[in-house]
Structures are given as C-alpha cells and as structure tokens.
C-alpha cells in the first residue's frame, strides 16, 4: 500500500460525492480520511482525501480516472506538497 493525498474540486451536483466514493470502492482504493467543504463560490466544493493504493496501482492512474467523472473539475495529487510541508 502507498499513501497519497488528493485534492479535488467538484461541481455541487447531487450524487457528485457518491460517484467519487463509488470509484474508490470499485477500483479497490482504501480511503483513510476524507473531508468535503464548500470552496466559497457556491458552485463548487473542495474534497481533500487521503487514500491508500494497492501495490502496482499508481496515483497518476487514479487521478486520470477521477478526471473522467463529469462533476470533477480538477484533481491534484498533493502527496509531494504535503511531504514538503511536513519537512520530509
């Protein structure tokens, strides 16, 4: 398992969160923490999530799969930033 932090911007549409969570469960992604908050504009929400990936699965792949969801406006892998913030 490898750990990654992803940050997503979602359209505030019914079912948007469900779509993302179902993608995690369909693709065997373990969610270790998840937080959803309005991003201020009203039309979008920000989702921060920390996930564990099975060996052989890459975060790039997951980012692209999340990117296919119509309600997802952007996805970034912040694993590296966070590691920097923590001084790692």
């Amino acid at each position: 398992m490898t750990r990654h932090s992803l940050s997503l911007l979602l359209r505030n549409e019914p079912g948007a969160l469900a779509r993302i969570v179902v993608l995690f469960s369909s693709r065997g992604v373990d969610v270790s923490s998840l937080s959803l908050a309005p991003d201020g504009s009203g039309a979008l929400s920000r989702l921060d999530v920390v996930v564990d990936l099975q060996p052989g699965r890459t975060p790039e792949q997951l980012v692209k799969q999340l990117g296919r969801i119509v309600d997802v406006k952007s996805v970034v892998d912040r694993t590296h930033d966070e590691a920097l913030e923590l001084g790692a």
Partner: protein, 568 residues
Amino acid sequence: MDTTGAGALVKALEDVGCEVIFGMPGGAILPAYDPLFESKIRHVLVRHEQGAGHAAQGYAQTTGRVGVCMATSGPGATNLVTPLADAYMDSVPIVAITGQVARSVIGTDAFQEADIRSITLPITKHSFQVHDPADIPRVIAEAFALAVSGRPGPVLVDLPKDVLATATTYTPPKLVLPSRPVVPPVQVRNAAQLIGSSKRPVFYVGGGVIRSGAAPELLKLAEKTGIPVVTTLMARGAFPDSHRLHLGMPGMHGTVPAVAALQRADLLIALGTRFDDRVTGLLPEFAPHAAVVHADIDPAEISKNRKADVGIVGDCRDVIAALSAVLTRRTDLTAWWSYLDGLRATYPLGYDWPADGALAPQYVIERISTLAGPESVYTAGVGQHQMWAAQYVKYERPGSFINSGGAGTMGFAVPAAMGAQVGAPDRTVWAIDGDGCFQMTNQELATCAAEGIPVKVAIINNGNLGMVRQWQTLFYDGRYSNTGLGTHQRHPDFVKLADALGCVGLRCDSRSEVDGTILEAMAVRDRPVVVDFVVGQDAQVWPMVAAGTGNDEIMAARGIRPLFDEVE
C-alpha cells in the same frame, strides 16, 4: 407554458436527432408515452428491458449514432443494468431514459422505487435525475453529447413521474459536442521515431479505431508502412480480413501469427485498445521485448495495464492521420515478415470434423460468412460460437461485427441484431447465437416478428454451455458439472419455438444441407428466421491461451505449443 415535462422530453429527443427508441412503458414513465404516441420517433416495444438496452447498442454500432432505450422505474430500470454495464465496458454510446417515482416520495420505498442512479454509478459515464421540467431539453442534449464524445459510453437520464407531468415551456436544446483533443505533435514525432527504428513493429488495433471511424486512415497508414496488423475482438472489421498485412485476432483465442506478432514484436503501436487480459494473457509475459506506443482518447487507459513509452491522448482518426503525415521512410521488414508468414503458413485457422459424423460448428459459420458476405452485419452471443464467429466470419468493414467483448453478456446476440437491423434496414443481419445464450433473450423475436424486423438467427446448437464445457474438458478432467442443456433432446424444440414466436424455423444437422438451409433462410424477407444448426458437442475453440498463462504458451491445438517450443 406550452407543454409538459413529457412533451419536452419527446420534443428534445426529436430535436437531437433520435429516430428510434427501444422500450417498455409502465407507471412512472407513462406520461412520456403519451406524446410519443404521435411523435415521428419510432418506438419499438420490447419484451424485456434488457432487450431494449442491447438493441440500443446494436443500433448505435451499425449507425454510429446514439442508441436510446427507455424503461419505467424500479424493475424496468434494473432490467437495464446489464446492457448499461455492457455498453460501459465496450464504449457504446447509448442513452437510457428511466421513469422514477414522484419527487415527493423519492427515498420512501415507494411502489417501484429503485435508486437506479446509485445502482448504475460505476457503469455509466454520467447520469442525471431531473427535478425541473424546464431542464429536460438541456439534459437530453447533454446526455447525447456525453454519450458520443471522448470515449463513448452509456448515460442515464432518470425522470420522476411528476416532473414529466408538470407544465413547462419548451426551450430547444443546443447539442454542443466538445472539440476533439489536439494531438500533441511531440508525442507523434516520438512515436514516429520509434516506428522508424523498429525492426519488428505491429499495429495492435482495438475497438477505438471503429468508434472513431478511423478504419480508412488505418488502411492507408498500414499500406504506407507495410507494418503487420492485428485486430482485437472489438476491432474485427477495422481492417479487412482479406488484406495481406492482416494477421487476424490476437488473444486467448487468437491466431498463432497474431499472438506471435505481439510476443515477438520490438514495438507495439496500440491504437484505441486497452491491453485487456484476454489479449495480454499473463501480463508480465506479454510482449516482453516490445516498446509501446499507445494512442487512446481516454487518458486513463494509457499505461493502465502496460506502461507506454509514448502515450498519445487523442482520437484515433486524428492520431493515425498525424502519424501518416510524419512517417515517410519505409523500414525494411523483410525478416519480420518472413517469420510471420512462416507461422501463417504453418498454423492457419483450422478445425477437425467431429469423429461421430456430427456437423462441425465452424463449417456452419464459415458457410454463413461466404453466403451472406461482408456487407451483412453479424452479431454474436458469448461462448464458443462467439469465438468461431470472430474467427470464421470474414470481416471487411467496420461495424459489421457486433458482440459483447468486455462484459461477455450471454443473450446479447438476438436483441443486438434487432437493433442493428433497425439501424441498417437494407442489410442482412445474422445473429450467430448459442443454444444457451438464445434462451436468455429469444423473446425479442416476438418483437421482431410484430415489428417487421427480419433478423436471421443461427443457433449453434451444441447441446451445452459449450465454452464452459470446454474448460471442464481441459481443466476439470472432463467432469461436466451442470453444462448440459438438453437442447439436443429438444428441450426446447427451437423450430417449434421459432414458429410460436412468429418466425420461420428451420433445422439442419448435416453438412450437405448447410448451404441449402442458409439460402432458404436468406430468401425469407418478411419475417425473422431461426435456424437450429445441430452440431457436435465436442468441438473446441482453438488456438487457445489458457487463462493465467503467458501468450508464449499458446496452443494451436491441444498439446501443440508453437511459440513455447520455439523458445526452448
């Protein structure tokens, strides 16, 4: 207020160019059926909603347009789950319209309530539930655009009954198709460089080439470069079978030269394909010496199963055209071709006749192909007959073979043929079906009979769930647990069943009658025809790469492993 939600739905469907809907009414969707009654859209009343979904898939694949199916809430909607999953796996553009219980009772376990949006989340590109009738035209246009753009796929539109019944003002929708991604020139140059320096390249062609309408460009590029071509199950017809550069289908039941081309290649040029396990076999042993150029419209496919050295996100038509423009030098592939031609000569597709004098299923399919020709459309169920339909029908044009590749859905053939025939009324449509598969969806022949949709069905009646039986023969010591269907004992009698469904029923069990029976079936134009081809139960699909093994272990026939022996 000039209409209702239902009126807006039907008008919007007309305005986005929908010409046919396959569906079945019921409580929640009933308001939509009223304006449909006088619409110019044809509605084909199916006998099971699964048939509506597969028919929409068949229609989409013969016409290149969006297929539409419609069902009521609850069980009507859940009956669409299998075709939605199938369309998702095979990237088929369909829109499913479902009725839903009224907004006020959603979430109360109301009569015929099922949360179809949640149920189908992992098997749709997107889904909508509309809460304001004024939104219906926009949502229909968006659903159509989503279904066909990028990587095509299924989209669901769920409509609560009261939204359909509420008065609204119609605003004509604008169908806005997103522009195709610009093919990155750097990647194209890198790909061209790899192609230019490779000694053993191969075009590994998938269904994306058919979806994007890139077959003519592929033909030009292949002829320009002289590079061998293999076409996957989903790509049969993307490149003419009669062409000297074509080595056939790769994969679990692929030809020896096609599998060898991938295994021995130093470069795979993968176009609109997804390195499915049925093609790669054991992934670590797949194409071990090859660099990979992978072009696909879906960025999530690139490097998913096999790392691409050059990934190109783009529509296959654009990518192939871009490659054609930069590839000027033709490399010398003489040694590569002499190796592949050697395999082609030594291991052509072939079969033995059953020792007990029974009819060979492969022969039946070969004759249908010869007599019906490449202008016909062929559909298949799932099993041995499907693999023989992929191997022994000679495809010359894209869209002429429609089958369930990714999902492997038994029962696909008959309803898909129905949809294909509606989409291509002037073509002959043959469903090559299994005796097991046929029993899952044959009720749609009543639809075909009632609606004047004259499909032809060849039941390859081997008395068994043949593909499962083949695995039992090979991997379970011939212990045939629950694979006999009793169809050789006429449970059911397919000729009588055909007759009862309003079709012509024919039977054939000997070689000398095969051509005559096929011609008799082809002569019927006013009704569907079912031919019960009674064939031997022990015919097997060869070649075969056993599941969980590497492609080098391909068996041309039982015990014959040409590539493995070559390695030693």
